[in-house]
Amino acid sequence: MKRATDLAGRDIISARDFEREGIEDILKRTAELESNPGLVYGSQKGKLAALLFFEPSTRTYSSFQIAAERLGMKVSGFAGPSGSSVAKGETLHDTVRMFEGYGTDIFVIRHPKMGAARFAAEVSDTPVVSAGDGSREHPTQALLDLYAIRKAFGAIDGLKVGMLGDLRYGRTSSSLAYALSNFDVGITFIAPDALQMRQEVSHFLGQKGVKPRTESSLRSVVGELDVLYVTRIQRERIPDPTEFEKVKGMYEVNREALREAKPTLKVMHPLPRVDELSTDLDGTEHAHYFIQAAGGLPIRTVLLNMVLGGAA
């Protein structure tokens, strides 16, 4: 993903594939779109987006749906498995083939299995954008996370980013780590051993010369951080319920936990939150998560437009 035009007709499967130049280009276009929202309205008129969400979603589904509609596209598909043929046992393979037969111009796929988006991209000649697959990745979330960081600090280089919570089963933190590896940042993974970052993520970062620090406690590192990225415990993905019981409620980020933080620290969260992020932070200067979430729409509008060959 080097230049904007490179994205035309391409799949967006993994933040591993992101390169700095491509990221910068997307962030720049997103900022332009935010300042001039009508820039791309109707630019993909008459095209069809299939949003296939094999796992329920609110934010991601809605933002892709609105993005596609703003581009003038028709949207088909489903927002969750219930009520669709998936509930009857239809496979990802057959669902993709079927929608391709309907003349779909772009797929946006969320699936509970890791690597599902890559498989869908192999099955289909139509571009596939991953909207999250299992606990592996959520590449478009990583882009909106970078956009939110850039918005808060004006730059990404030089920052210290802590990722806290369920790093093992949370897909947003792995994608963000991959994306951040293109910048000169310090990364700290803060989690109990059972929820520490997966081996393949650390391995990839190592190959790119990034050596993240690992901590089990927020207290020991909070004073150094510019960004604290909090994730919820992915109860639905932890195979052993006793493992969940051991770690649930282990972290709660609230005003007290941030007592020693820099005043400029920004707290981010991919949402939805459960009890790991207190509402007592909502009115503070630290709270950046709603601004972060709002970036999902322009980022996804830009991405869909670029993959479909749009100029802006």
């Binding site: 393979h93 299995k113 890791m114 690597g115 890559r118 498989f119 391995h203």
Partner: protein, 152 residues
């Protein structure tokens, strides 16, 4: 076992590791499919090169080169002798860049383990580190643990 006229001899297996070879090559399964195949296992045989080694001889069955290549992930020094009409042809297995089929991803949530999805598991090998990465879910597997991930 009488002299093999057609079959495969797997040589230079580290001593006492022949059972790993039978596991990786799924010889029990192959034997079911090829009712004529018989297998002789020689263990702790004197070897100039290795000191001691194991040998597996299979009569009436040719081990696929693709499977021999997977075996070389675990035992890099292993050599294969194919016998056809009594004539021997040597094959030196090499670690492929991409392994398609044969192995199963240990990550149960990987799409390659999804029921009824027509996915062939694929692994990209990272040779200097003796690791391979699942093409779909990126899970890393050490070459040495390949026997645990053979598809049954």
């Amino acid at each position: 076992m009488s002299k093999i006229e057609r079959g495969t001899v797997i040589d230079h297996i580290p001593d006492w590791k022949a059972d790993t070879v039978t596991k990786v090559l799924r010889l029990d399964r192959q034997a079911l499919m090829e009712s004529n195949a018989s297998v002789a296992i020689l263990q702790n045989v004197v070897s100039k090169q290795l000191g001691r080694k194991d040998i597996v001889k299979i009569d009436s069955w040719r081990v696929r080169e693709k499977d021999a290549d997977i075996l070389s992930l675990v035992f890099p020094g292993v050599t294969i002798n194919y016998i056809e009409d009594g004539k021997v042809t040597k094959y030196r297995p090499t670690v492929p860049d991409l392994i398609e089929g044969g192995l199963k991803c240990p990550e149960l949530s990987c799409i390659s383990n999804a029921e009824r999805e027509p996915v062939v598991p694929k692994f990209v090998t990272l040779k200097p580190e003796r690791l391979m990465r699942c093409h779909y879910c990126d899970t890393l597997i050490g070459f040495d643990s390949v026997p645990e991930h053979v598809r049954t």
